[in-house]
């Protein structure tokens, strides 16, 4: 498959409604060109996962997603044998006299193999996009499983041998930095750090994703979010929260922020009880900084 050029990627991101800067486009471009996995880190809700969705859409291929969690092991990520089928098959074959070796070969064949996301991705007919989400949540041992796939594009299954990739998937790994990823994993990937967006970028995102929102309201929302992120919060809201909020306010057909309104809808943005309380205490000050004057009536 032919990989798109840099300008095409920038255009592609834009068409899919993803407002990214040159750094993001460059990383995606190089990841495709060099056929390397892309490791994306950054705070929650800045669009790390979104990149893979956009890529899959733009390349017109499937997105295969592997959500990581503590205790995730190879049987859930790579492959597993279908034991029920194996047992049933053996029962069926019981009456016939058969060569044991041939029997073994049959039940440890492709037919009885359950493909988990990683194996699915490398045997996919089209170059799929494989999203390994929140890789830092999985145990360190899991990283070692991944290494073989990431660098050699193959999975070793003791009973069959090595399955080589029929098509190289585009791999995206995301992480929230809950723990340090191993140096070995990092070195096999290209690295991209996405931070909270600037005011202009966020405004552009809001306008693209929620076109029905009033321009002035959009400005106020973004300015408020910017100030809000300056506060020391347990869970700093990301772009997804901004979009949710803009959508909520737009659906109420509002054109301006005011204190009462912010107080009533703050739950869309903040998901922690203490954060809510602190913000409510500092609301007047926050709104002043945002430039929202409270109106009477």
């Amino acid at each position: 498959m032919k990989t798109p050029e840099l300008q095409q990627i920038q255009k592609m991101l834009q068409e899919q409604g993803y407002i990214g800067d040159d750094t993001i486009a460059m990383s995606i471009f190089l990841a495709m060109k060099l056929e390397k996995p892309l490791l994306i880190e950054g705070p929650a809700g800045v669009g790390k996962t979104e990149i893979s969705k956009v890529m899959a859409k733009a390349l017109d291929t499937d997105l295969i997603r592997l959500q990581c969690y503590e205790g995730l092991d190879s049987t859930h990520a790579l492959y597993e044998w279908n034991y029920q089928h194996q047992l049933l098959y053996l029962k069926m074959q019981e009456q016939r006299v058969q060569d044991l070796k041939a029997l073994e070969e049959t039940i440890f064949s492709d037919k009885f193999l359950l493909k988990r996301p990683v194996l699915q991705a490398i045997t996919h007919p089209k170059n799929a996009v494989l999203l390994i989400d929140e890789v830092d949540r999985a145990d360190e041992e899991f990283e070692s499983f991944l290494l073989e796939v990431l660098s050699d594009w193959q999975v070793s299954i003791p009973e069959i041998g090595t399955i080589k990739a029929t098509s190289k998937p585009q791999i995206i790994l995301t992480g929230n930095r809950t723990r340090e990823l191993s140096e070995a994993l990092r070195r096999r990937c290209l690295y991209l750090w996405i931070d909270y967006p600037s005011f202009e970028k966020e405004l552009a995102i809001v306008q693209t994703r929620v076109p029905e929102v009033d321009i002035k309201l959009g400005r106020e929302i973004c300015a408020f979010m910017k100030e809000l992120r300056q506060m020391k919060l347990e869970k700093t809201p990301g772009i997804s929260e901004t979009i949710d909020w803009a959508r909520a306010l737009a659906s109420l057909h509002l054109t301006h922020l005011d204190k009462q309104l912010v107080e009533d809808t703050l739950g869309v943005v903040l998901k922690d009880w203490q954060d809510l309380r602190h913000t409510q205490d500092a609301l007047s000050e926050l709104l002043d900084k945002t430039g929202v004057t409270s109106r009477i009536g």
Partner: protein, 392 residues
């Protein structure tokens, strides 16, 4: 290590290789594969755009956020040096090494410390001087222990630590004992019976060791306890996956390596040599803040216990301490604050530092005698209870 002199190169690829070397010198993990990636990346770029050039190299040569933040500046510096190198050979300024070689006589070796302590017997010690069984030992303050008691104590503690240091992880591994069926191996094993299930194979949970981070206050008020405690933890260090040790008073010092590579006493002497403020005043807040900034990301995770050994007498600003404690609390499995003063019955966390830190402490313990220490070790294995400091 002699820095690589930068000479002017006529070819672009030559300069890229030089840049890689330059970055390697600055601690970037740039190996041959990164070099080839960088060269390969450039072949794909549209020609003549300096900005793309830099961005592409940044994407290929950096591997974490910290490196990304440094890259742009280093990149500029490199080209500046490179153009200078055209005129004359540049001399790289070697960073002044801060090595104080004059070995001071140390006043506080561990043994002499014990002797000194034993010269000042307390009431309690007089009481129990004649017999020393475990019961009594368990309630005795560590600073009141004699040499023999100390050895006995260490043996007891080692036993305890070994028992407690093993924890279950959620990954499974093959075993004969436990009742979790390993289907894959069961199938394999029963192949020879034509698929009739006759034998079962079970898997067992894999053991997971804990990681510890010790932050020891070595200001004057805490020196004795800190020495003792670090000694103690290192006495059974093989029970843990990893122990990182820091000492602080007005500044933070990482001493893990010293303790790993030397005999304990020698190590501590070397530490007191290196730490100029040894046994001076304390700024707990700024020291802990430095820790979270410099090491927090790499060392703290949900498997790591943080033990802070201090009396909470902070001379710095409470906001800094609060912020640091918040960060540590959030990123670690559990936070222990060991305050020997807490051993006295009329203790209340009055010191301002103590008060500030309290909401972010899981267990506040005195750890001044065996019984209390046992409680602490027991707590190592317990899950975090939310927003509730328990006093043991």
């Amino acid at each position: 290590m002699q820095p690589n002199p930068i000479e002017i190169q006529t070819t672009l690829s030559g300069n890229i290789v030089l840049l890689c070397r330059f970055l390697r010198g600055k601690g970037f993990p740039v190996g041959a594969s990164e070099e080839s990636d960088a060269l390969l990346a450039l072949t794909h770029l549209p020609i003549g755009n300096e900005r793309y050039f830099q961005k592409a190299l940044k994407a290929v040569l950096t591997k974490n956020q910290y490196q990304q933040s440094l890259f742009d500046e280093l990149y500029l510096e490199f080209w500046k040096q490179l153009s200078k190198a055209g005129d004359s050979k540049i001399k790289q300024v070697q960073e002044p090494k801060n090595q104080q070689s004059g070995r001071r006589e140390k006043e506080a070796r561990f043994e002499s410390l014990k002797d000194w302590l034993n010269l000042n017997p307390t009431e309690e010690e007089k009481q129990v001087a004649s017999f020393s069984d475990i019961e009594v030992l368990a309630k005795k303050d560590f600073v009141d222990l004699s040499k023999e008691e100390m050895q006995l104590m260490m043996r007891l503690l080692q036993k305890m630590a070994r028992r407690m240091a093993h924890q279950k992880s959620r990954l499974k591994k093959y075993s004969k004992k436990h009742r979790q069926l390993d289907l894959r191996r069961t199938m394999r094993c029963n192949m020879r019976h034509g698929g009739e299930l006759q034998h079962f194979v079970f898997s067992q949970q894999k053991e997971k060791k804990l990681k510890l981070v010790l932050l020891c206050d070595v200001s004057r008020s805490m020196d004795l306890y800190s020495r003792f405690f670090v000694h103690l933890i290192y006495a059974f260090q093989n029970a843990y996956d990893k122990i990182e040790t820091f000492v602080f008073s007005t500044a933070l010092h990482r001493v893990s390596e010293l303790l790993d590579n030397n005999e304990f006493e020698k190590a501590f002497d070397m530490i007191s040599d290196r730490v100029p403020q040894w046994s001076g005043g304390t700024t707990i807040g700024s020291c802990l803040y430095d820790f979270t900034n410099e090491y927090g990301y790499g060392m703290l995770d949900k498997k790591t216990l943080v033990l802070i050994l201090s009396d909470g007498w902070d001379t710095g600003a409470p906001e800094v301490l609060k912020e640091a404690m918040q960060a540590i609390y959030k990123k670690s499995k559990k936070v222990f604050w060991l305050n020997p003063l807490a051993g006295s019955p009329d203790f209340s966390p009055d010191a301002l530092g103590m008060k500030t830190a309290l909401p972010y402490i899981d267990v506040l313990a005195s750890a001044h005698n065996l019984e209390s220490l046992k409680q602490v070790l027991y707590q190592f294995r317990q899950k975090r209870k939310l927003r509730n400091t328990s006093l043991v």
